[in-house]
């Protein structure tokens, strides 16, 4: 005991210079190696560590594990729900796109049909109009021909009358019709 006390005194002096170790050191030297306290420390360690183990095993850890599991379940559930909603959304988009494509096709068809119909109608109307025009043209031409022949038939008559008037005023005597028409016909040839 005396040697351990001496040892602790030297340690004490190293650190503090002039300090004298307390009486407590006299009982066992360097405290961690004092075997007198071992039994008590082991006993209380066993009691406290056993208690801690029991609390951890029965209360704390199941509780934390429960919280973590709840969270994991919730996240997994939310992800599944999100996935389901996404699939629904995708299906809706696909349906919408299909409907859109159908509508576009139909619109295309309707536009095409209408265009064709209008074209045919326009064509028909134009044909009709052209027919009417050409008929009128033919009629007009016929009338022109008629008028022309008529006019031409009047020419000799006018010429005869004019010639009669001319001759009468020149010589004071009207020529006979036969002479006149012979002369007019000759001039007109």
């Amino acid at each position: 005991m005396a040697t351990t006390q001496a040892a602790s005194e030297t340690t004490g002096e190293h650190a503090a210079g002039t300090e004298v170790p307390s009486d407590a050191h006299a009982t066992g030297g360097f405290p961690p190696f004092n075997s007198e306290t071992f039994a008590s420390q082991i006993l209380w360690l066993a009691i406290t560590f056993g208690l801690l183990y029991w609390i951890m095993n029965k209360v704390a850890l199941p509780r934390i594990a429960g919280i973590l599991e709840d969270r994991r379940d919730r996240i997994a559930g939310d992800l599944a729900e999100a996935n389901r909603l996404k699939q629904e959304g995708d299906a809706a988009v696909a349906a919408y796109e299909q409907a859109l494509a159908e509508a576009r096709n139909r619109a295309h068809g309707i536009a095409h049909d209408t265009r064709e119909k209008l074209k045919a109608e326009t064509e028909a109307r134009r044909n009709e109009a052209e027919e009417g025009l050409s008929k009128k043209l033919a009629e007009a031409e016929a009338r022109i021909g008629e008028i022309k022949t008529e006019a031409l038939s009047h020419v000799s008559e006018i010429a005869t009358d004019t010639a009669t008037a001319l001759v009468e005023s020149l010589i004071g005597k009207a020529p006979t019709k036969t002479e006149l028409s012979k002369a007019v016909d000759g001039a007109m040839k």
Partner: protein, 252 residues
């Protein structure tokens, strides 16, 4: 006495209990063991009282410590190792909180006594041995005979393996004990210098001026000691996990 670096490890009786010749007193060491259990339990149970789906800061610290120990155990001992989770978690929290409580001035550091760390180490090793034999029977001894070793070398290798196995509780306990002890002594010595330099009359003005140096050292060492307190708890836990892995999978 105030500057004696060993005084902080002194065990004093609070409630003397004697059974026959055995001294089983409730000491300051026992008080801090109780405090460690109380702090750990309150930290874990009050932190989770909200049972929040979105954790509060406190609760996320609790969850972090849980996940931290769980991932350490799972990575060294696999999923089968999770059966030891309450044990490993208790060990980690006990050592960590005891180390951290020891960082308070005038507080007693439970883990600075070799008998405490040795008892914990023996608890680990006896768990390994008992579980190893209970689960694998004599095959557990295959732990000492590694595969792929040439026949002539087997006795030598087995001897080395046995010695290394037997030294495990010693290395496990001495590592923690020595780190805590040395750290606390160093801290006490350096901060003791501050007081000595301030109080010394022979140095005149020189003493108070230079006392800043050990003070800076003391502050730095305090930071280091917090790191060591955590690191040693972690090292103790990791090694425990590796030893438990041997009990679960004795063949190398």
């Amino acid at each position: 006495m105030a500057q004696d670096p060993i005084h902080q490890f002194q065990i004093s009786k609070i409630i003397p209990i004697e059974v026959g010749s055995l001294d089983l007193s409730f000491t300051n060491s026992a008080l801090f063991m109780v405090a460690t259990v109380a702090v750990t339990s309150l930290f874990l149970i009050m932190g989770t009282s909200g049972r929040g789906l979105v954790p509060s800061r406190w609760q996320s610290m609790v969850e972090m410590s849980y996940e931290f120990v769980a991932s350490t155990l799972r990575s060294s001992a696999g999923n089968e190792g999770m059966r030891f989770f309450p044990f490993v978690f208790s060990l980690f929290m006990f050592v960590l909180i005891a180390n951290l409580l020891g960082m308070f001035p005038y507080f007693f550091t439970v883990t600075s006594h070799i008998i405490v760390t040795f008892a914990l180490a023996m608890l680990v090793i006896s768990t390994v041995v008992v579980y190893g034999f209970a689960k694998h029977g004599t095959k557990f001894l295959g732990l000492f005979v590694p595969h792929g070793v040439p026949g002539a070398l087997i006795p030598l290798v087995t001897l080395i393996e046995v010695i290394s196995f037997l030294s495990r509780p010693i290395s496990l306990s001495v590592r923690l004990f020595a780190n805590m002890l040395a750290g606390h002594i160093t801290l006490k010595v350096f901060t003791g210098f501050v007081v000595s330099l301030l109080a010394s009359e022979s140095l005149g003005l020189f003493g108070p001026v230079t006392s800043i140096l050990p003070l800076i050292m003391g502050v730095a060492l305090t930071g280091l000691e917090f790191l060591v307190a955590f690191l040693q708890a972690y090292v103790f836990t990791v090694l425990t996990c590796m030893y438990l892995n041997d009990a679960l999978h004795p063949s190398h």
